[in-house]
Symmetry: C2
Subunit: 437 residues, 2 copies
C-alpha cells in the first residue's frame, strides 16, 4: 500500500431497529427502546478494499444527535494519511479527545465523547484489518510499551502511572501465547440477559431461564427496579427455574436513590442475587460505595453509563464496585478502555463487560479477550454479557457455544454490518421505517 | 391570554464570535476559543409579543452539534400549551431530562443535557416575561413549596430531602423583601477575570489589574497552568499591581493531575492565591478532596464543567470544595441549578457563579440574586464572575457599578440578543463569518 493513501470519507448512517414492538430490552429506565446505531464508516483510497467500521449505540430518539456529533469529527479525519492514523492510534485518539473547542461539549462525556469513541473504534477496525488480525489479537501482539502508548494518562497518575501500567503488562507477558490458544480452543465465558427483560411474563422468564441453563450458561440476569413485589416474584420464579448452582445477577438500570437501593436489595437478598448492577446514578461514586458496604456480600457492578476513565478511577479508589462493566461505545474508544482495563487490573477488580444493544457483544468481546491475553491474564469470575438480539445484521456475528463466546478470527472489530441491513433499517427512509414513521 | 395558546416554534441559531483573534478568553486548556451560542427561541401564538430566549454556551467548533441537540428537543415542546409549560416548569424539565431514549446520550451530561438546559431556560425566560418579572424576582416570589416542586430529587435523597429543602427555604423567608430592596439599591458583588487571560502580556495584565481595583473590584482572577515559571512571574506582577488587600483567585482550567496541582500551587502559595479553580478533571471528586486537604487554607473551587447535581452532591459530601461555581448553561437549566443552590446551602458552602463566555453573566446573575433572596440569604464571601466581553449583543446587558452587578429589572432571563447580532454573527453565513471561513 502506498504510504500516501488517505482517508477520503467519513460516512455516518442513522440505523434503528424497532425493538420496542416486542419489549426486548425493556428495563426500569428504558421501557421501550428502539436499539439503534450511529454507524460510522472510514473509506480510504488505498485500493486494498479495507474500510473502518464502528458504531455508537443508542436507544432510539437522539440517534440523529449522535450521528451528527460523529459527522462533526470528519474534518479531523478526512485527508489524513492512513498510516498517520493507524500507526499512532494513541495520538489519533488524543487529537480528538483534547480538541480545545470540542471538549467544551463534555469534557469527555456524553454525545461528543461517544462520537469520539465511535471514530476511534472505526480507526482500530481499519488498522486491525490492515494487519489481518481480529482486534483482540492485534492488541495481544503489541508490546507493553506499545500498549501504554495507546493510553491517555491525563488525570490518572494518582491511581496509575505509565510505569505501573508497563509493569502490569510485563507480568502478563509470559503466558500470552498459551492464553491465545486457550481462547481459540474454548472461548470466553458468557452470561445471558435474554430471559430477564422487565416486559416479559413470569412464564416466559422461567422458560428462557431454563433454556439458558440447558444452553450452558452458568449466570443469568434479571432486570429489576419497577416494583419490589414484582421483583420478589420474578426472582423466585427465576431461582426455581435455574436452581441454586446458577448465578442470578440483577440490574436496576439506575432506578434507585442510595437508601432505596439498599432497602430494595435487602428484599431480594434471600434469593441470593450475585450482583446488583447500576443500583443508582452512574455518576454517584460515593453512593455506590455506601451501597456496597451495606449489601455485602452481594456484589455491586456498574459501568455501562460511566462516562470516562476518571469516574472509573474513583469507583476503584473508593472501593465502590466489585465488578467493572466496560462498554464498547460509551467512552472514548478502545484507547480509553485499555486505560480502564489497566486500572481494574491495578485494583484487582474483575471486568465483566456490558453488551447487548446493537453490536455491543461483537465489539466488547475483543476487549475482554485482550484483557485475558495481556492484562489481567485470567478469566476467573469474569463473564461477558450476552443478549441474543440483532446479531444477524453483522458480517462477523458473535457465536456462543456452551455458554461461551467463540473467539473471533476474522480481521477487525466485528462491528461491520451487512449493506442490506444498513439500507433496510436506515432511519427514517429505509423500508422498515418508511411504513412505520 | 387565551389558555389555549401554544408553543408554535423552537428555533435554533448557531452564533459565533471570533474572539480567538485577540486571545480574549485564552487559558491553559482553551488557547483560542471562539465564544459561541447555540441560541434557542420559543415562539407562541399567544399574541402577547412574548418569546422565550436562552442559549447554550460553547467555545466554537461543536456549536453546530450543540445546536442540533437543541433542535432534537423541538418535538417535546412545539404544540404544547404555554400554560402547560409555564405553570409547571418542574414537570416540563423532568419530561426532557427523563425521556427514556434521549437520556441514553448522557445520562444528564454533555451536549444533550446542555441542550435540555437551554430549552428549559428559554421556558423560564418566557414564564418570567409573562409574569412581568426578571427571573431572580420571579423565583423570589415563589413559596418554598413551589420552589421545591421545581427540583428533581432523584439521586439526591442521601444528601437532601424535599423536606429539608423546604426547611432551608422557610428559614430564609422572613427577610426576602429586605434583601430584594438591598439588591435593587446596591447590587451583588462581582470579581473580574478580564485582566488574567493567559494570552495577555504581563504589562497588559498589570494595567488591567490596576484598572480593576480602581473600578471597585475587590477580587480578580488569573489563568494559570501552562508554565509554573510564567505563573509565578504573572502572580508576582498581579500582586504588585493590586496590593495585599485584593483577593487574587487562580484558575487552571483542569490542566493538572492531582499531585501536580498540589506541587504547582505550593509554588504560587507565597503570593496568597485566594482560590484555585478547576485544578483537575471536573469529574474527579476524590481528587479535589485530596487537593483541598493538601492546600489548606487555599480554597478549592469548581463547577463550570460539573455535569449535574449528582456530581455537585458528592463534591459537597466529600468535602472536596470550598466554593461551588454554578454555570447557567452546563446543567439541565434553572431547575437543576435550584437543586445545586439548595445542596450548597445544606452544606454551608458559598456559591460563586462561573460567568463570562457569551451571555453567562447575563443569565447567572439571576441565580446568584435568587440565592441571596430566598436560599442562602447572604452575600458573605460570595461573588459573581464578571468578564467584560460581548455584552453589547444583549438587549438587557449586565451593568457593573463599583465592582458590583446592578440587579436587572427587565422581565425575563436577560439572555435575549439583538436581532442584528444574531444575524451578523450567524455561523457560517453571517457577514462576520462569510469573510473569514
Amino acid at each position: 500500500m502506498p504510504s500516501t493513501a488517505r482517508i477520503v470519507a467519513l460516512d455516518v448512517l442513522d440505523v434503528r431497529f424497532p425493538t420496542s414492538e416486542h419489549l426486548d430490552g425493556s428495563d426500569a429506565m428504558n421501557p421501550e427502546p428502539d436499539y439503534s446505531a450511529a454507524y460510522v464508516r472510514l473509506c480510504t483510497d488505498a485500493g486494498d478494499g479495507h474500510e473502518g467500521h464502528a458504531l455508537a449505540f443508542t436507544t432510539g430518539r437522539g440517534n440523529d444527535v449522535q450521528a451528527n456529533a460523529i459527522a462533526a469529527l470528519a474534518p479531523y479525519v478526512v485527508g489524513r494519511t492512513v498510516t498517520d492514523i493507524c500507526d499512532d492510534l494513541g495520538g489519533f485518539a488524543r487529537t480528538l479527545v483534547h480538541d480545545p473547542q470540542l471538549r467544551w461539549l463534555g469534557p469527555e462525556k456524553g454525545a461528543m465523547h461517544m462520537a469520539t469513541g465511535a471514530v476511534v473504534n472505526a480507526a482500530w477496525d481499519l488498522a486491525a484489518k490492515r494487519a489481518g488480525l481480529p482486534v483482540w489479537r492485534f492488541l495481544g501482539e503489541m508490546s507493553p510499551e506499545e500498549l501504554v502508548a495507546q493510553v491517555d494518562f491525563r488525570w490518572l497518575s494518582d491511581a496509575l502511572t505509565p510505569e505501573e501500567a508497563v509493569d502490569i503488562l510485563r507480568r502478563a507477558e509470559p503466558g500470552r501465547r498459551d492464553r491465545i490458544d486457550l481462547l481459540l480452543a474454548g472461548g470466553y465465558p458468557a452470561y445471558t440477559t435474554s430471559p430477564g427483560w422487565l416486559g416479559y411474563t413470569d412464564e416466559k422468564l422461567a422458560r428462557l431461564a431454563r433454556e439458558a441453563v440447558t444452553d450452558g450458561f452458568s449466570q443469568i440476569k434479571l432486570k429489576v427496579g419497577a416494583s419490589v413485589e414484582d421483583d420478589v416474584r420474578r426472582m423466585t420464579a427465576a431461582r426455581e427455574a435455574v436452581g441454586a448452582g446458577v448465578r442470578i445477577a440483577v440490574d436496576a438500570n439506575q432506578r434507585w436513590d442510595v437508601q432505596q437501593a439498599i432497602d430494595w436489595m435487602r428484599e431480594l437478598a434471600p434469593y441470593d442475587p450475585y450482583w446488583i448492577e447500576e443500583p443508582t446514578s452512574p455518576d454517584d461514586i460515593l453512593g455506590h460505595a455506601t451501597i456496597r458496604r451495606a449489601l455485602r456480600p452481594i456484589k455491586v457492578a456498574t459501568g455501562e453509563h460511566v462516562a470516562n476513565r476518571v469516574v472509573f478511577k474513583q469507583l476503584l479508589q473508593a472501593g465502590a464496585v466489585d465488578i467493572v462493566q466496560i462498554d464498547s461505545t460509551r467512552v472514548g474508544g478502545i484507547n480509553e478502555n485499555i486505560a480502564i482495563l489497566l486500572l481494574a487490573a491495578k485494583f484487582g477488580v474483575p471486568v465483566c463487560p456490558h453488551a447487548g444493544g446493537v453490536g455491543l457483544c461483537e465489539m466488547v468481546q475483543h476487549l475482554a479477550m485482550f484483557d485475558y491475553v495481556a492484562v489481567s491474564g485470567t478469566m476467573h469470575n469474569r463473564v461477558i454479557e450476552y443478549v441474543d438480539h440483532l446479531h444477524e445484521h453483522f458480517i462477523d456475528p458473535v457465536r456462543i457455544r456452551h455458554g461461551r463466546y467463540v473467539a473471533p478470527t476474522l480481521p477487525g472489530l466485528s462491528a461491520q454490518m451487512h449493506p442490506a441491513s444498513l439500507e433496510e433499517y436506515a432511519y427514517p427512509t429505509g423500508p422498515v421505517w418508511a411504513s412505520r414513521v
